[in-house]
């Protein structure tokens, strides 16, 4: 095992990308993740990795399109307003089936919003964002260690399925200093025979496109995408569970909220309320099944998010009306305290007769 280091989330992300063999990074500065670009500017040249500060996120995502289209392992990072600007490019990347990694260090919105942490971009990430029927493989770390681990996982999944992958985290995780250990990485091998590296005599020219004028063809492309999505849903659902075995009430939370949820659990268990936690690791594909299964034996679910209630809709889909689903959220960069949430949960527990 490699040594234990103390690092900021944003820097661990960049370091993990370098260690995962990323060949290029294109981005435009935005708080709260500008350290990523700064880290890459400093470290990328030492590893033969391309670093380029683009003139906008629009340019950055299209540089990523070009570089991924040429078959390189590339990524970008930004925060909410920048990710909004990238949506056009993300849709094209999905349509052209290009593998790459995009990190969103979510801040509060809408609009220019605030630089404080938020989970307000859940819908944008997992329900579309750009135009057309596409999906982003979405990973949600809640510790600096997970940021590092999910970075290489995101690259591997993106390349395995030729689909863009997103890491959705928030500003607090980016700024957080924690212990991290970079696991040794081996590239599982990548097929880029489809990419544009120059037409060789023994093959037809390759082209990268998302344009299929004939509806018959466009439908086939969509069906191909949907087949890929079903494969991903079958193989890649990831989540973690904490103390659910004896739980009467189950929290569902991801990222920063999952950290706070475990503190709330502690408070409530001390008061005799048996609560557990399901922490989705992949926000798409979403771990509906575990929620569906738990619904048969727990009394209720409680979702906490730093938004007005977005993932809670997926929890309700999973629970499918079998049990009550409570919700508590804060917005605009405000973060709930564990005590504050505990109070809401207690009220909810009383309401459902626990």
């Amino acid at each position: 095992m490699s040594e234990m280091l103390l690092m900021k989330g944003n820097e661990a992300m960049a370091e993990a990308a370098i260690r995962a063999g990323s060949e290029g990074y294109f981005a435009y500065p935005i708080t709260p993740q500008s350290e990523v670009a700064e880290y890459m500017a400093r470290e990328a040249p030492k590893h033969g990795t391309v670093f380029l500060q683009a003139e906008s996120e629009l340019a950055a995502i299209n540089m990523l399109y070009g570089a991924a289209g040429a078959g390189f392992k590339v990524w970008t990072s930004s925060s909410s307003p920048g990710i909004s600007l990238m949506q056009e490019g993300i849709s094209y990347i999905a349509g052209a089936m290009l593998p790459c990694v995009i990190v969103n260090v979510n801040r509060g919105g809408p609009g220019l919003g605030t630089i404080q942490p938020s989970q307000g971009d859940y819908f944008q990430t997992v329900k579309g964002g750009g135009h057309g029927d596409y999906r982003l493989i979405t990973l949600a770390p809640s510790t600096v260690q997970e940021i590092a681990d999910y970075m290489s996982l995101a690259f591997d999944l993106a390349w395995k399925y030729r689909n863009p992958a997103m890491i959705l985290m928030d500003g607090a995780l980016g700024q957080m200093m924690e212990k991290v250990q970079f696991k040794p990485y081996t590239d599982p091998g990548r097929d880029f025979s489809w990419s544009t590296r120059g037409k060789k005599e023994d093959r037809e020219s390759n082209f990268i496109t998302s344009l299929f004028i004939k509806p018959e063809e466009m439908e086939q492309v969509n069906l191909q995408l949907q087949r890929t999505y079903r494969e991903i849903e079958k193989n890649e659902v990831r989540y973690e569970t904490y103390e659910i075995d004896d739980a009467d009430l189950v929290f569902v939370a991801y990222g920063l909220s999952a950290r706070i949820a475990s503190k709330v659990m502690h408070i409530l268990r001390n008061k005799g309320l048996k609560v557990g936690l399901v922490k989705p690791v992949t926000l798409w594909p979403y771990p509906y099944k575990i929620l569906h299964d738990l619904a048969d034996r727990v009394k209720g679910f409680f979702v906490m998010e730093l938004n007005a209630g977005q993932m809670v809709e997926d929890v309700r889909l999973g629970v499918n009306g079998k049990k009550e689903v409570g919700f508590y959220g804060r917005m605009g960069g405000m973060i709930y305290s564990p005590e504050e949430v505990a109070e809401k949960v207690e009220a909810f527990a009383r309401k459902i007769g626990m």
Binding site: E23, E55, L58, N62, M63, Y65, A70, R197, G198, S205
Partner: protein, 257 residues
């Protein structure tokens, strides 16, 4: 019936380049895009760089360039060709990378990407086909539409007060230190086609010097949306486009090499 002439004792002195796929291009009869495509592919064939050339197609009438050009290509979002080309070139600095873009693509929605690629001096060639109109979407006003020119979105002619001035991109990018070679050409007469080819050849070869962006503006026609015959459109181009968009060299920092 036309006449038939024996080809006995004759040498073939000109034929369609092999780098152009055996496909009928979808362009309207007489459209300059066809000539521009052919020239780029002739150069790729003559320089022997088919294996090392990556083209970036725009959104515009030439969106399907990859069906015609027998090289690896990428289709960029509307206006983003220069950013896509940057991504490709940065990863493969020894490849020849070019964008092929219309005026709406390059000088309206993609102006930012264009200017910044030129300003960074990306070692790419930008082939800019200026036909003063949005061809693909059916003849709306372009950033390069002339004052007084009628289009579907300026039906009584472009007026400066409402729509601003037609933008001269060659003059503009020549100002940027990142560009190394900028020339405006046309393809509406045989002599100009020869000149255009020379300019394009020089532009592609300049990538080897890694000294900056080469930019070739091709003043072209759009007979369909100008509502003229191809021959008329080429005359109109001479009389109306060229006075505002003078042909010639705007910057050359490579000839001295």
């Amino acid at each position: 019936m036309g006449i038939t002439v024996s080809l006995e004792n004759m040498d073939k002195i000109y034929e369609r380049p092999k780098t152009l796929k055996d496909q009928v291009m979808h362009y309207c009869p007489g459209c300059g895009h066809g000539v521009a495509h052919r020239l780029v592919m002739e150069i790729v064939a003559e320089l022997g760089i088919q294996e090392k050339t990556i083209g970036i197609a725009p959104v515009g009438c030439s969106v399907f360039a990859y069906y015609y050009m027998d090289i690896d290509m990428q289709e960029a979002a509307h206006g983003r060709a220069c950013a896509v080309a940057t991504g490709v070139k940065r990863m493969m600095p020894d490849h020849y990378v070019f964008t092929y873009q219309g005026d709406g693509d390059l000088a309206a929605i993609g102006t930012n990407e264009t200017i910044h690629a030129c300003n960074r001096g990306e070692n790419i060639t930008i082939v800019f086909v200026n036909n003063a109109v949005y061809g693909m979407t059916g003849g709306q006003m372009a950033p390069t539409t002339l004052i007084g020119q009628i289009t579907t979105t300026c039906p009584s002619g472009r007026e400066q007060v409402a729509n601003g001035y037609p933008i001269r991109m060659s003059e503009l990018v020549a100002q940027l230190p990142g560009t190394t070679y900028v020339e405006r050409v046309a393809v509406n007469t045989p002599a100009r086609v020869r000149k255009a080819k020379k300019a394009l050849t020089k532009a592609f070869k300049s990538q080897e010097l890694k000294k900056g962006t080469s930019f070739i503006e091709i003043v072209s026609n759009c007979p369909s949306n100008w509502k003229m015959t191809p021959v008329e459109s080429n005359k109109w181009l001479d009389e109306n486009m060229l006075p505002y968009y003078p042909l010639g060299l705007y910057k050359d920092e490579i000839s001295g090499e």
